[in-house]
């Protein structure tokens, strides 16, 4: 599945390259997005550990956006921006869901939560990436900004 909206721009002043993509908000889009970004990271020279970490974080972020972030829109989409900036690969995922307070989520590694069937996605994102920040999206929804140091 190809992303249905794509744009790329190069910001000469920062030597950053930004790619903006969007897919329909459904589970099948996760594979498509993961494949697209893995190909990009590979072509940029990302090694196996980098590719694995980015894929894991991206899959978790997209799953959260798709499962929890549809909101009331009639044509729900998940939007992804990828930017290679000096020293880092940045990914931003946006949805139109009701949002959530990441600080209020329970710790999935607490002894009484270990047998819970869900609630580990954010833990995996934080572990895979060097920085992850969730913030309200202007106009409604959630924006997740993730950064991975790029050698």
């Amino acid at each position: 599945m190809q992303p249905d909206r794509t744009s790329a721009r190069a910001a000469a002043s920062t030597s950053a390259t930004t790619l903006e993509l969007s897919w329909p908000s459904r589970l099948a889009s996760i594979d498509a997005a993961a494949s697209t970004i893995d190909t990009l990271v590979l072509r940029l020279g990302g090694e196996a550990a980098m590719r694995g970490a980015v894929e894991l974080a991206l899959r978790e972020a997209l799953a959260n956006a798709i499962v929890h972030g549809i909101g009331d829109t009639t044509d729900p989409r998940v939007e992804l921006t990828v930017a290679l900036v000096p020293g880092a690969l940045e990914l931003t995922i946006r949805d139109r869901g009701p949002g959530f307070d990441v600080a209020a989520l329970p710790d999935p590694t607490a002894a009484h939560r270990l047998h819970a069937p869900c609630g580990r996605g954010i833990l995996l994102i934080r572990h895979a990436m060097d920085h992850a920040e969730w913030r309200p999206r202007p106009g409604g929804g959630t924006e997740l900004h993730m950064r991975k140091h790029w050698p």
């Binding site: 996760i30 594979d31 894929e55 799953a63 590694t109 069937p117 869900c118 995996l124």
Partner: protein, 140 residues
């Protein structure tokens, strides 16, 4: 020992290959491919539950062929573990690939799952998940 292929009853074309075989009292599920949200998670649940329904409650999940896993797949593993233990059985993981072992460590589930890197050998006596663990000094 017998083997059978576990299909996804809802969508056979989307089935993740899970081969079921028995060795003594143990049921071994050879899981291959990804265990991701919408891809393999439901098939794993179905395979475990059908094994339990058939009376096998000593389950070994052979993870050697699992290519990737996400939090939904991890959730399915722990649900399978809970379901099995609630029925008085035991579920252990066999040959967990390193990158999946890493995720079990991150999520602290390595403290829950007993795993082994040694395949249980069929014998004239019963084979069970505990025998695999004892053979390697597991749990880890």
């Amino acid at each position: 020992m017998m083997a059978s292929f576990v299909a996804n009853p809802r969508n056979p074309k989307a089935s993740m290959p899970i081969t079921k075989r028995t060795s003594g009292k143990a049921t071994i599920l050879d899981v291959t491919g990804p265990i991701l949200i919408g891809q393999g998670d439901a098939q794993l649940r179905q395979a475990v539950r059908s094994s339990l329904d058939e009376g096998g409650n000593q389950l070994i999940l052979n993870m050697a062929g699992v290519t990737r896993i996400d939090s939904s797949g991890i959730g399915e593993l722990i649900s399978s573990y809970t379901t099995t233990t609630n029925r008085g059985g035991k579920l252990v993981l066999l040959d967990v690939p390193p990158k999946i072992q890493d995720i079990l460590m991150i999520t602290q589930l390595s403290t829950v799952f007993q795993s082994s890197t040694t395949r249980p050998k069929p014998s004239r006596h019963s084979a069970d998940p505990g025998s695999a663990e004892r053979a390697t000094g597991a749990p880890r």
